[in-house]
């Protein structure tokens, strides 16, 4: 395990470095719990982390939704991993099962081009608005990026997007959108994620050199920006928005590349090759856990496969693709679909357990997180959207009471969940998307 310098931001502004105060994180405490090198900094509450987690092709709702509500609900076949597995102790006390949420926006933006329902289901995963009617993307920003835009986190990465599986089409292969039609491309392999998080800067480089590096990077990027400005002034309407997006991207990476890390964080082992999908997923979620714990980022999304994945499930003994199974309404087909969903929930439980195992302040990272887990449809077989399968995990720093099944009145807007997510993360939103007319009730601790 090699040490990795944590991005405790010390951004360079011109020639002089300006250090911005940070909340206290365990990663910055020395072995005796003392704040590393900043004697005068005030301890503050750990930040709330916001994560969205997608799984494809819906569920068999009969096998998903608990029959009773409240804290003593019986775990269903799809959710049984929440109660503990061979590898992971129970996480159900950290999870709320939310039922009866209606994703009306799925029915908006329907044109002949966007008739394909998975495209719309995935495109409305976390945006609260119908997809772009021209089929070229989501109809608005996703909740994670709205949080980034409001909170303007000063972490090294404003957010991280992760995905596993094949890419296929803009709407189907992204769940994180900075604005309509502008997806955040995810890191699609453990190796890519490792490189992004842990390969730069090289450990052991003295700070003076890093400062020189930062200054030079800034000069180079300034030159690139003026090139972009000059070009922008000459091109026609067909190119303007793409160049504007490019310019925004350069601004964003300037922040990532122009900093001097001042403390260290343990990087996981470099990923090997030939990983099975479950191994790859666990490894990516492990790296995400490290990134959240070390405050490399506070906002993330994880897309576990997508509807067109040709992937089979040999580790479950299922030699069929997910989507194929999801439309098989024979008893065996339904059982297979539930087995796949149960595995996906197991992976989710594994992730929650890793977050819980990372101590922070008086609790752990899971205490200070909110993780939204859902699919693009409710029933996979019929592409329903009126009772979305949603899990909401983590306590947002003690703001959320967990461990329950909450059954909302029929028709409660799905996008209300995003108002709640934003509020708990510190964004004073009152609405989200077309139908999210307030936060969800019943979550407050």
């Amino acid at each position: 395990v090699k040490p990795f310098r944590l991005s405790r931001r010390a951004f360079l502004r011109g020639a002089a470095g300006v250090t911005i105060a940070l909340p206290t994180l365990d990663a910055m405490l020395d072995g005796r719990g003392r704040l590393w090198g900043t004697a005068h900094a005030q301890p503050a509450a750990p930040p709330v982390r916001l994560i969205t987690f997608y799984f494809p092709c819906g569920t068999v709702l009969e096998d998903w939704t608990p029959t009773s509500s409240g804290p003593d609900y019986a775990l269903t076949p799809s959710l049984k991993a929440l109660g503990g597995t061979a590898e992971v102790p129970s996480v159900r006390e950290y999870v709320n099962v939310l039922s009866n949420l209606r994703k009306q926006e799925y029915e908006d933006g329907v044109t002949e081009i966007t008739a394909e329902s998975h495209l719309r289901g995935t495109g409305t995963f976390a945006t609260g608005v119908g997809v772009s009617p021209d089929g070229l993307g989501a109809g608005g920003p996703s909740v994670d990026q709205v949080a980034v835009q409001a909170l303007k986190p000063t972490t090294r990465f404003p957010s991280l997007a992760l995905a596993l599986g094949e890419a296929n089409g803009v709407n189907l292969s992204h769940i994180s959108w900075t604005k309509a039609r502008t997806p955040v491309p995810p890191e699609r392999s453990p190796r890519a994620l490792f490189n992004k998080l842990f390969s730069t800067p090289s450990p052991g480089v003295p700070n003076a050199e890093l400062e020189a590096l930062a200054r030079r990077r800034k000069s180079v990027l300034d030159t690139v920006r003026s090139d972009l400005d000059r070009l922008q002034a000459r091109v026609g309407a067909n190119d303007r928005s793409r160049l504007e997006e490019h310019l925004e991207s350069v601004r964003e990476i300037e922040r990532q590349l122009v900093f001097v890390p001042t403390t260290t964080c343990e990087a996981p082992e470099q990923p090997g090759s030939g990983l099975s999908p479950p191994q790859a997923a666990k490894l990516m979620l492990k790296m995400l856990t490290v990134a959240l714990r070390c405050d490399l980022t506070r906002v993330a999304s994880f897309q576990l496969f997508q509807r067109y994945d040709s992937l089979r499930f040999p580790w479950l003994g299922i030699d069929r693709a997910h989507h194929d199974v999801s439309h098989d309404t024979s008893p065996r087909g339904l059982a297979l679909q539930t087995a796949i969903v149960a595995w996906e929930v197991e992976l989710f439980a594994h992730f929650l357990h890793m977050l819980r195992s990372a101590p922070e302040g008086a609790g752990n990272v899971l205490d200070n997180s909110l993780i939204f887990f859902a699919s693009e449809h409710s029933h996979g077989r019929s592409h329903e959207y009126k009772d979305m399968p949603v899990l909401l995990a983590g306590r947002a720093g003690g703001q959320v009471k967990t461990g329950r099944h909450i059954r909302y009145p029929a028709g409660t807007p799905y996008a209300r969940a995003f108002v709640s997510l934003l509020n708990y993360a510190g964004v004073p939103a009152t609405r989200f998307g077309t139908y999210g007319n307030g936060p969800l009730s019943g979550l407050d601790a």
């Binding site: 089929g135 990077r217 180079v220 030159t223 690139v224 090139d227 990476i253």
Partner: protein, 574 residues
Amino acid sequence: MRTSFRGHRRACALLLFAALGLAACKSEQPGTPVPQGPTESGPPPDDPGTTGNPVQCRDVKPGPRYSRRLTNAEYESSLQALTGGSSPLVERLPADGYAGEFAFNNHADVLRVSASHAEAYALIAEKVAADVMAAPARRDKVLGCSLSKGTSATCLESFLKSFGRRAYRRPLTDEELTALRKLATAEQDPAVGATLALQAMLQSPNFLYRVELGTPDPERGGLHKLTGFELATRLSFLLLGRPPDDALLDLAAGGGLDTAEGVASAARGLLAASPQQARDSLRTFYTQWLSLQRLDTAQRTPERYPAWSPQLRDAMREEVYRVFDHFLWEGQRDFLGVLTARHTYVNPVLAGFYGLTPPSPTGWGEVRLEEGGPRSGLLTMAGLLTVTADHEGVAPILRGKFVRMQLLCKPPPPVPDNVPTFPEAVPGESDRDRLARHRKDPSCSGCHNLMDPIGFGLEQYDAIGAFRQKDSQGHTLTAEGAVQGMDPPEFRGPAELGQRLRASPDTSACVVKQVFRWATGRYEQKADECTLETLTKAFRVSGNDLPALLVSLTASDAFRYVDPSLSLSQEEEP
């Protein structure tokens, strides 16, 4: 309108559809607006000018004006050409995506620069610049001079001008030179200064995009004529997949690309001078046209497909390459010959799989294909049959869709939504009977009649393209198929289908259209009708010579001019 549309979506029980992104099964209704332009789920519907409505084709009209980001492949080949190397960091670039059913990963609207791209470009530029400067021989080659004491200022200046011209594919403006000079000379060490200038050029939009602005042509109304440098760039990336070299830039600077004949002559020259790169470039075209890249991720279980192996998969891909290379570049250059080929190329692995005698005990060799035997041309190649059979039990639909979309350019109508359920297989029922039952639903038959019967003509090939006469349950497979719209529709087996497709004017028009999409990185628009019609005629007259088609394209006004009044993504009504 919306209500009835949604009602229709509900009613239609369609399966999948979408394994290739097939999105919906709506019957065409009169008066339904037709979506145009690039879409997530469907290209613009049909082919003007080659069937049905005759087009009054007098002037070839140029298309919209836009600048495209380099694809990752173009970016890497540019790095290689400019610096003599690349970096493993290129794997940090997000893969180029596919826009809906657009077969190629170079659609202009999808080639964007996200933060992940910008970060990767920055890190790659740093690494490549550091590598260049660390190796004295490579450094002097890239700089074009030596940064020794006393001459470093002159060397820096000539480096900015000469390297800059290759990187931006045109001479730098004074303003650009001033900015780079300022960046470089702010450093005390001239080597560091050169490094930073190199990094900045490798991240400049003038390098990362194929910038096309053109200059107004007073004789051609509002049209812009592309500059010689812009044409050099178009030519080189299209024909060779790499940026223009110094010789081509010199030709452009001397006015050699100012006329149609000059451009065509340069195109012929590039193809003749770099045959291997020309082959590789067209390989990109047909690989994506056939979705052959899906072979890389195809999965088959050994229990069901014991013959499946990485070696077999590689051989399937190589067979397509060799057959296509033959019909593209050798002999008569009759590209449509791939549909009816009477010979193929095999190695021992593929020969064993096909039941042929390997012509060579170790390597690849040509074999004649027996008349009436199971192999004859593209439609019987295991690679194609594999990538069009990714989902159990529905290969006929996917294969029928492939033929419609990629070979005939007559996509089925969009798929409706809320596919309830595909009919479950009754024990003992064949795929043919099960899909026929599905097509009894009138709301499904509309598009499935267009697809399934084509695919059944290929039913004697399983999901990895192995020949069989009975399915796994013992049903006899007849290979009887039909293509709606052909006269007569009925055919039996891929050999006959291949001959019928080869003879159909729709097929040659479709090939031209696919090449046009790949070459322009966009869907065709109304303004392109005459261009396509003219090119299609030329293609047929040449005996389906596809390299010659590329040369015809480069000489046309559609290649040499742009129309700034046209929108990239919207159809402009005349």
